[in-house]
Symmetry: C2
Subunit: 623 residues, 2 copies
């Protein structure tokens, strides 16, 4: 007996249940017309999922919850599965508020016939499920019954046939690190196929990892697996997450049967028990199209973020360097060239090379372009500050004159660009301006607060400097014409804020990015400590472990002292400069760990473990 499944990769707008419901309503009507037997929507398809503490607004919760009956009413002649919040008005959550559940609802013949609470609650990275929801596990513990009592296959009659369907939510399938495995449990209890509704953001290589996890789950019970995820973006303020969808219907052996297109609102249909071999759409596995996924994700994220803030225009400072060039390209693709306003803001320290590269980029991409020099106000500010005298208003009448250090002068230029010019232009154009920082800069604080830290969104701040170059090369390889000229890859990366940073003299940033990016990745994404790095350095495994050329160490460092000095310099920069990240704009998250609320930091200063100090002492022969 055939069973026609429709898996709806819905674009969910978080915090706007009315909009989500309207789409769900019309898709249910469409599915009925198509003769679908089961229609499936993603996790939290009505409220959205990453909405912060809006989960504490009871009126909003009830508003979302009440859509459940409206959806159920539409289910004559079809079974529908959707994610939404369920509530228990008689009990509170552990925060003393209304008790809520992250729930998969099932309706048929106009009624809600079942509901499944999420069993496994992720509380890592951007996920805070236990903050907001009560889990099936807690219920089981409260009621002194086994968890499995809450996790039985749904028994339901469809077209006269009794079915047993395993219904799960998101993390329930990612159970490797948990002591309970919902999918295996459902399969052992005879589920004929598994539905997993998710709200799972894209990150680098996550899709292929999911394919492996599904194969693992189905190992002992090979049944079809239907993974339904949403598109759109959702944010926690400090991070914007990209939802590519990736909705997939798997065959029993875990092979791909149908895969939805990235970032497309789309309905996948299949006859689950048909003997015909389905044509696999999008058969290319994820790892083979990393750069394509990354590029499409960034463009999509920018576009959706500008939709969210109801702005279609972007202002961007372009220096002629690689970061602002990539950012301008992404804006151009997301918003159209006519909506991108580029500003070159030279002071005396900017070279003709970079000024030329900036204009050339604007010409290549056909963007709006202007030059606003900052030299006059820079000089005025230096003079005004150097003539500022504080008087102590007590008997001493002490006078205190200001004295600008070189770094103070550098920062004045950056702040003049970010806060006086770009913010002023964006405000006059009813636009927002964009932050061009990369992850290497954000990590080391090689950036000026209220200067180049500014912006409404940071599109490339989750890409290390070397990844920025790689993505530019990839873009050149796929675009008809060369977007980024060869020179851009040759000139030294430089802030150009003083005569010490003269690129025509070959001077640039105080980093060897091919090594320091890997070191930073170890700190940020692998959560390693200087103790780990020094251990690897001493046992000789550092290049292999971090993934850089072994010759580098000899070429770059004179001796162990200079290695250790550099290690501590980077660790210190990373830890101390968190104060800048606190005030930095939202970052589009694409890595395994993005600065923001994904990686949650505290201002705790710099610390070295006792082991580190002992190893260091031994290595450097100190007392």
């Amino acid at each position: 007996m055939n069973l026609q499944i429709a898996a709806c990769q819905l674009e969910v707008t978080p915090g706007h249940p009315d909009q989500n419901f309207e789409k769900i309503r019309s898709i249910i009507e469409e599915a009925k017309a198509e003769g679908d037997d089961i229609l499936i929507f993603p996790e939290m398809a009505i409220p959205g999922y990453i909405i912060g503490d809006e989960w504490e607004n009871n009126s909003f919760i009830y508003d979302c919850f009440n859509y459940n009956n409206l959806i159920a009413e539409l289910t004559d002649d079809i079974m529908v599965v959707w994610g939404n919040v369920d509530i228990d008005e008689d009990r509170v959550g552990e925060d003393g508020r209304l008790r809520k559940f992250n729930t998969a609802f099932v309706a048929q013949n106009g009624k809600i016939v079942s509901r499944f609470y999420k069993t496994l609650h992720p509380d890592y990275r951007e996920f805070d499920d236990d903050r907001h929801f009560y889990s099936a596990r807690k219920l089981a513990q409260d009621n002194k019954i086994p968890i499995s009592d809450y996790l039985q296959p749904l028994k339901i009659t469809i077209k006269g046939v009794q079915r047993k369907i395993g219904i799960t939510l998101c993390e329930d399938m990612w159970s490797d690190d948990y002591s309970f495995h919902p999918i295996e449990r459902l399969l052992a209890d005879g589920a004929e196929f598994i539905i997993n509704i998710s709200c799972s953001p894209w990150t680098w290589r996550k899709n292929n990892k999911r394919h492996r996890v599904v194969r693992q789950r189905l190992k002992s019970h090979p049944v079809p697996f239907i993974y339904v995820n949403n598109t759109g973006i959702q944010n926690n303020g400090k991070n914007v997450f990209l939802f590519d969808g990736g909705t997939t219907i798997y065959n029993g052996d875990g092979s791909l049967r149908i895969v939805a297109g990235d970032y497309q609102e789309e309905i996948l249909r299949t006859n689950l028990y048909s003997n015909e071999k389905e044509v696999i759409k999008n058969p290319v596995l994820s790892d083979e199209r990393d750069n394509e996924e990354l590029l499409n994700g960034l463009i999509y994220g920018i576009k959706k973020f500008f939709d969210l803030i109801h702005t279609g225009r972007a202002v961007i400072g372009i220096s002629g360097g690689v970061d602002s060039s990539l950012s301008a390209y992404l804006l151009c693709r997301a918003l159209g060239p006519e909506n991108v306003y580029t500003v070159n803001m030279p002071s005396e320290f900017n070279s003709d090379i970079t000024k030329g590269l900036a204009q050339q980029l604007a010409e290549t991409l056909k963007l709006n372009y202007t030059i606003v020099p900052i030299q006059d106000v820079f000089e005025y500010t230096v003079e005004q500050l150097e003539n500022t005298t504080f008087e102590r208003l007590d008997e001493s009448g002490e006078m205190n004159k200001l004295n600008l250090k070189p770094v103070d002068r550098e920062n004045i230029q950056s702040r003049d660009r970010g806060s006086r010019i770009l913010a002023g232009i964006a405000s006059a154009l009813d636009a927002v301006f964009v932050n061009n920082g990369n992850k290497s800069e954000v990590a080391t604080g090689y950036t000026t607060l209220y200067g180049d830290v500014n912006g409404a969104i940071a599109p490339i701040a989750d890409l290390y400097k070397t990844q920025v170059y790689d993505l530019c090369r990839y873009i050149n390889s796929v675009e008809q014409e060369k977007i980024f000229p060869d020179e851009l890859f040759v000139i030294p990366a430089s802030a150009e804020l003083s005569s010490e940073q003269d690129i025509e003299e070959g001077e640039g940033d105080p980093f060897a990015y091919t090594y320091h990016d890997k070191l930073l990745r170890a700190f940020i994404e692998w959560r390693l400590d200087p103790e780990d790095i020094l251990t690897y350095y001493i046992d000789g495994s550092l290049p292999e472990t971090l993934g850089f050329d072994a010759e580098f160490l000899q070429e770059y460092f004179d001796n162990d002292d200079s290695f250790v000095e550099d290690l501590e310099r980077i660790w210190r920069l990373y830890k101390i400069n968190y104060f800048k990240r606190i005030q930095a704009p939202p970052i589009i998250a694409v890595s395994k760990r993005a600065f923001g609320f994904d990686l949650r930091e505290s201002q705790i200063g710099v610390y070295y473990t006792r082991n580190y100090k002992e190893m260091r002492k031994k290595l450097l022969g100190e007392n």
Copy 2:
């Protein structure tokens, strides 16, 4: 038989186990010399507690963990209880990382004799326990045993007497909203007295609430209760939390036996079974000294924050208004007048009244003072921007000239002050500058990003405007001389950024703070929605529920339309302007809900529930 208890209100430095251990070591030696039988330190006394995802740095975790044996070695002739992290190397946490427990360790005679895992894990406000730690509850579920098996009184022989002691951590005593009550369980199992080690920040009226909770817990089994909390500050980046300590030894009836001084590192000693009546220190209950606690907390928080960032000097813009006046006073108390650099930055729109008030404040407090006018650069910037023309670099060659709106001109002034002058001066003085915003401004976004949003710390951003006035009045009432002149309380609150905001014409902020502060508190701290507010408005209970004078509604609003219009204006400002809070500095948290990672927001725009829309329609008679 006497039992001498020493409860150590330790100042814990988060992220610096070495410093914490050194203090613990010397206090243990001191306690042995004093003949103490039991010495108790707070929760997470070695690592600190609010350290963000530093909990994922395994080298750091092991470093902290390894101090446990060093502490145990010191416990000949004394029993010591302390909080630290425990690990299970054989199992992972649900995040796939090293499994960690928030633990109370007990050592005696040189050995760790027992360890108690925290049973109840808070996951609300700033707390993320389930993100970082495995709980006793999860262990019980994994092992299919009752939770109580992990929570038995410690049986230990002290001076030849067998004791049964209930040892708990922080949230274990705040069990009202949980389905399991650790303290009651321990008491039912015969605990002679309860120890609770905490890392619990101060908030408005929390101390007295704790006294009530302890009385509740001891209701059926009246035994002594020893609450040990730390001092210091801990932060999550966006919020600085104040730890006043509040270490308290309670009698069996829940009355106070000894209470430690606020914000003091101190050891409370008592003979638990002595018949002598102890003299109660600090007998005044918390609610009677709210303002004193608040003022002391803010001063302490500023001082400790400046210690944390290794800076002793503060720069502050003073406009002559109440917010900057209060901030300058707090800085003066925290850092000393010689370390406070005040800057008045007039443009043409600043009145002589406020300029005079600014100077008068600096004189009263004997601060460093200077005037840096911004008029020249303001005019230059307006001209420069108005002469800026964008050329579209395509065949159209379209030209686009900028046109400044009044609000653009206002924001130019604010950014000039915050980013050009204050940041420049702070940098030249190797100081930081301070944000003067109050919670009403932060909530409504009545502030300029990269302007008055700037600063390294926001000391009063968790106080509504009306609370700012109240605190100033309180300070005047306790200081020898009048700090804040009467005029400050009379002039309208105003940004003074345009001729529309002329205080000499009586023009000020577009808020009626006595009402709007209460409305904002309902949104932010009570988590209410416009639906709730409109419900109360319609049923006539709004003034009583929110706590403002009933006459206000008739006086301020012409009719229902203008009430609704204002409600939606405030809701909209609050939701939309979150983008400014994303980039705002750390806020010292003093309320029941502070902006930052305490209240976690998403950029989701503005939403009204269906109920709200229906009520609105009915009320306003619209179709």
